[in-house]
């Protein structure tokens, strides 16, 4: 665990953090929509 980094190093951290949650949420939403569409159109 490191001490807080200076603000100039934050951009990468912001990108990684938001990409991680976007990937997780995107995977969940996409899988749910695919399943719902498949099931309702069967």
């Amino acid at each position: 665990m490191t001490e807080p980094q200076p603000p100039e190093n934050q951009t990468a951290r912001l990108w990684v953090s938001w990409l991680l949650v976007a990937a997780l949420l995107g995977y969940g939403v996409t899988q749910t929509v695919i399943t719902a569409v498949k099931l309702f159109t069967h």
């Binding site: 665990m1 912001l14 938001w18 997780l24 969940g28 399943t35």
Partner: protein
């Protein structure tokens, strides 16, 4: 030890210029993981087959976890406030991950009690601490938009199930080639279940560590650029004062809000718990339904989407229109929607899905908006601890909602023979439940000044920077 001391509250104060937009993803990385609790039905049948146990015996695992969620949030709230979000998130990740690993040992050795102890008891503590850990911090970083901030985090709890459900199915198919998740009668082997639990335990621990590393509390004196606390406090029911958790539960407003949350959750859970059979029964023609079991599964997934979207959208809207009006919307429009569902919901599948979806968005919105409502009423001093105590309403609603629906349905006939008409008594009862919540919301009043903490001489447990972070300790 340096590693453990880095978790302490005093070592989590953000340096000047630290971006507050790092805090929502930190909170989401915790909530997206613990939201898995709503996806346990994916492997329920496999556990039943593996342990040769009853539905009830396996269902107890989930029940223990939810009871522990409520208890640990209520009891641990003050500890979370005193020790800060980083330590709380680390403790949550440790309990959550060890819950999966102990559960995996239980599955491998066919000792069901170990699964109760692991996923139920230990995992449940991780759930409760994890659920409340980022809430207080988010409110302090976003005093100008607390609804948006907590909506983002608590949206993750809804989204966690949407991630865990397909992921668990795919992992079980990976670990057991004979398992077919599309076949309702197919069950995964014990080995696959062990692999799933170990993978989820390790994976969730790693993801939650992103939250531990990134979370910070705002430094003394910090406030967002251009933010004027006086402007926020000028709105109805919003205070700049601070109330301790011990005092908060002595106020009438706390218990009225408890009733509001209880009613909103009871109504929503009534639909959530019964969603799959409900849509089939509404469109039953004789003994067969025009909605297949598979389509009903897709409907449940859609409800999760509405639930998740409502958490973010409605909670953010509450920053604009105020907390009491948004709950009047959840409860008042909810009453109309329940009545429509009962009376005309059977006319078209699309209408049924739309009505149920909006109702579920209100259910999610109710969860996500309540921390901001607490902040408005009681200030930021111990909002996390107060939130933890309020979540006992969730536990109570988790018992009441299904009891109401199942009680009425049991009196109407046997599963597989019910029609839309059989649901009407339960749905109209929910209209009444929402009406009680509606009235309770109208009765909420500002907390009396004598219950506010004085600006100086805060209790020793309160984080000192809380006052300055909020910008104004004055009432």
């Amino acid at each position: 030890m340096p590693l453990l001391s880095a978790l302490d509250h005093e070592h989590t104060v953000a340096p000047a210029g630290y971006s507050r937009w790092l805090i929502p993803p930190a909170a989401l990385s915790v909530h997206l993981c613990i939201g898995q609790a709503y996806a346990t039905s994916v492997y329920k049948n496999s556990l039943i087959a593996h342990f040769d146990a009853s539905q009830t015996a396996i269902g107890v695992i989930f029940s223990i976890a939810i009871v522990m969620l409520g208890l640990s949030a209520a009891v641990g709230g003050t500890w979370v406030e005193a020790n800060g979000p980083r330590k709380a998130m680390f403790v949550s990740a440790s309990f959550w991950a060890s819950g999966f690993l102990v559960g995996a040992v239980g599955i491998a050795t066919k000792q069901l009690w170990l699964v109760y102890l692991g996923y139920g008891f230990l995992g449940g503590i991780g759930l409760g601490i994890g659920y409340i850990s980022p809430v207080s911090t988010l409110i302090k970083w976003f005093p100008d938009r607390p609804g948006l901030a907590t909506g983002l985090a608590i949206m993750g709890f809804g989204g966690g199930a949407m991630v865990a459900s397909p992921l668990s199915r795919q992992l079980l198919e990976l670990y057991d080639s004979g398992y077919d998740s599309a076949n309702a009668s197919s069950v995964a082997s014990g080995g696959a279940l062990v692999g799933l639990f170990v993978t989820l335990g390790i994976g969730y621990f790693v993801i939650m560590m992103f939250g531990v590393v990134n979370v910070r509390v705002p430094p003394p004196g910090w406030r967002p650029a251009g933010f004027d606390p006086a402007a926020v406090a000028a709105r109805p029911l919003v205070t700049n004062g601070h109330v301790t958790a011990a005092n908060a539960i002595r106020t009438r407003s706390f218990w009225l809000l408890w009733v509001v949350l209880f009613c909103n959750v009871t109504a929503g859970i009534g639909i959530l718990e019964q969603a799959s059979p409900m849509i089939q029964d509404f469109f039953r023609d004789g003994t067969t339904s025009t909605v297949t079991v598979a389509a009903a599964g897709g409907f449940v997934g859609l409800l999760s989407l509405f639930n998740m979207a409502g958490r973010f959208a409605w909670s953010s809207t509450s920053d604009l229109i105020g907390r009491r009006p948004i709950y009047l919307l959840y409860l008042g429009v909810g009453m109309v929607l329940y009545a429509l569902l009962a009376s005309v919901g059977h006319l078209a599948t699309a209408l049924f899905v739309l009505l149920a979806g909006v109702i579920l968005s209100f259910y999610g919105g109710g969860f996500a908006t309540v921390p901001a409502y607490l902040r408005d009423l009681f200030g930021t001093l111990q909002v996390g601890a107060i939130h933890g105590r309020l979540l006992t309403a969730w536990s109570a609603a988790g018992i009441a909602g299904p009891l109401i629906v199942n009680g009425f349905l049991d009196a109407q006939g046997k599963p597989g023979t019910l029609t839309a008409e059989a649901y009407r008594p339960a749905l109209f009862t929910m209209v009444g439940v929402l009406a009680i919540g509606f009235v309770a919301n109208l009765l909420i009043r500002p907390v009396p000044d004598h219950l506010h903490e004085p600006p100086a001489g805060r209790p020793a447990t309160s984080p000192p920077q809380t006052v300055a972070a909020e910008g104004s300790p004055a009432r």
